[in-house]
Symmetry: C2
Subunit: 325 residues, 2 copies
């Protein structure tokens, strides 16, 4: 395999699973594997599973480590890019200043690059997905939490320490509900999948009627944003209101992004994006009503295209571009 | 005067006054003049005064128009940079899609560049003021309104249409008070000089005691943010609370900027910045409490250095750099 055909091994390390993939310089996935993160077992155990998944995929592809351009790891959390640390990660318990880059590098003997998972997805969508045709975009992933990535002038913007883009932790209700990050009134606390599920459960607990109780077979812990979405699509009144409320907050967050960045696109990925126009159409309406006319008229708010692969594809692009420079 | 010593004629067009200055390539002000905007008389009349001020300053400096590198105009409002329009400006009544660039260009026969006033101030502070030593900064001007400017990688970021940076119109209270822009709960509606004055007046109107009534000689329309600042410095309880409330909201706005941009500095200018640490210290505390630790520990929140000249100095830098490229 000649150097310019060498792939990157990209990993998307999340709270639920570790997705690893061999990705070509054209952004194609050559091979893909995943295993569960079992994050509760702590960093050491998670990192061992990550390394095992990498070995497995290399074996399967009959590739040696030296045939890789490098390894890119997309991780949820606040990364210190310069020092290669995962400083904190709400969905990875026990991860505080873990030198993930150097641990993996010393085990594998190959160049390793860390990138925030939403930043990686932003880069992936820009290079190969919904943002291919523009230079300035904001990517939002709306799922359990809300992550963000910023592309400016065709390049990923990641700030001085590499931790920019925490759009989910933009405060839009100064005294709003508590967020996973410890703060109050963050976009994530109001418009994420978790927020949608919590809102539905608390309204049902207050005695409001909804088909959700039935859909969840009476077990409120079964109520997820996905189930709320299904109920809303079937016309359940409470579910419709809960989705509309989240969409309104999402629109407020987007209004801020439009006024601050005047971007060409906002690309929306993550599990909640599967709700499609039920979520995006009211959000677009809020932007039309609350953002300045010129940038509101400019921006296209569109669903992401790469699905769950955005993170590994973007992490691979990140490595190819770093190695190239 | 040789070409490389030629100055730029820079104008800062605000709702209250038109400030014009001859600025050298080193950022020094050679000559400065101003006249009142008398904005209520409408665009034509304001533009005539702007042109007259330019003529006056050129006469006084014994310079012909051909000896200028160009003219830079910093203007409050939403500009369409590509088309040279002032699309809307809350403090300039009647300005809707006014082709200011081409009007001035056709009258003077010289290259004219438009730039948002807060963006100009951001550029000025970056090139010659409080931001000289960093590559990534956010500039905030807190006065009658709140404007913003974004410097990324040493360059002004202005978005696709040139209207990025409207940080004052970031919503931080989804259902907050109405803002001048027509929206609700913007940072400007909660932390600007206008917000401070309004809050003080409405509390006094509700019967609360304060030395402000006396300071304003019983005329509530005399109560400005400046007077509230003086009263707070003298220990007036109500004034202290009003300033603290605005500082808290300012800190929330800065928290969002820190989480989104991971900048090296936030530079604060405008009339309210004269309150100094009375305003900035509580805002810094909020950032320390509510932003992520890594970017919160990185950012320096500092007062601006160029005062009222930031706009013309920045507009001049903008023209020098455009003409150079």
């Amino acid at each position: 395999m000649s150097r310019n055909k060498s792939p990157v091994l990209a990993v998307d390390l999340g709270g639920t699973k570790v997705l690893a993939a061999l990705v070509s310089a054209q952004g194609d996935i050559i091979q893909r594997e995943y295993c569960l993160s079992l994050a509760k077992e702590g960093p050491e155990s998670v990192i061992n599973r990550l390394l095992a998944t990498i070995s497995y995929i290399l074996d399967k592809a009959k590739l040696g480590i030296s045939q890789l351009v490098g390894v890119g790891i997309a991780t949820a959390g606040i990364l210190d890019a310069r020092r290669g640390l995962v400083t904190a990660s709400p969905n990875l318990p026990g991860w505080h200043n873990i030198p993930l880059r150097d641990i993996v590098k010393s085990k594998l003997g190959v160049s390793v690059y860390l990138i925030n998972d939403a930043s990686a997805a932003a880069l992936g969508e820009h290079r190969y997905g919904a943002g291919r045709d523009v230079d300035n975009l904001i990517y939002l992933t709306v799922s359990t939490g809300i992550g963000g990535g910023i592309i400016i002038g065709g390049e990923l913007y990641s700030g001085v320490d590499g931790c920019a883009g925490e759009i989910g932790h933009m405060i839009i209700e100064a005294d709003g509900p508590r967020c996973n990050c410890g703060n109050f009134g963050c976009l994530e606390a109001l418009a994420s999948g978790t927020a949608v599920a919590n809102e539905a459960v608390s309204r049902i607990n207050r005695g409001e009627k909804s088909s959700l109780a039935e859909l969840a077979e009476g077990r409120f812990e079964n109520i997820t944003a996905e189930i709320v979405g299904v109920a809303a699509r079937n016309g359940d009144h409470l579910a419709c209101e809960v989705v509309a409320k989240a969409a309104n907050y999402l629109g407020i967050g987007m209004t801020n992004l439009v006024n601050i960045f005047n971007p060409e696109k906002i690309v929306v990925g993550g599990g909640m994006a599967h709700m499609g126009d039920m979520l995006l159409e009211p959000a677009r309406r809020v932007v039309g009503e609350r953002a300045f006319q010129l940038p509101a008229g400019r921006v296209n708010i569109v669903p992401a295209q790469l699905g769950d692969d955005a993170g590994v594809i973007g992490a691979a692009a990140f490595v190819f571009e770093k190695r190239h420079n």
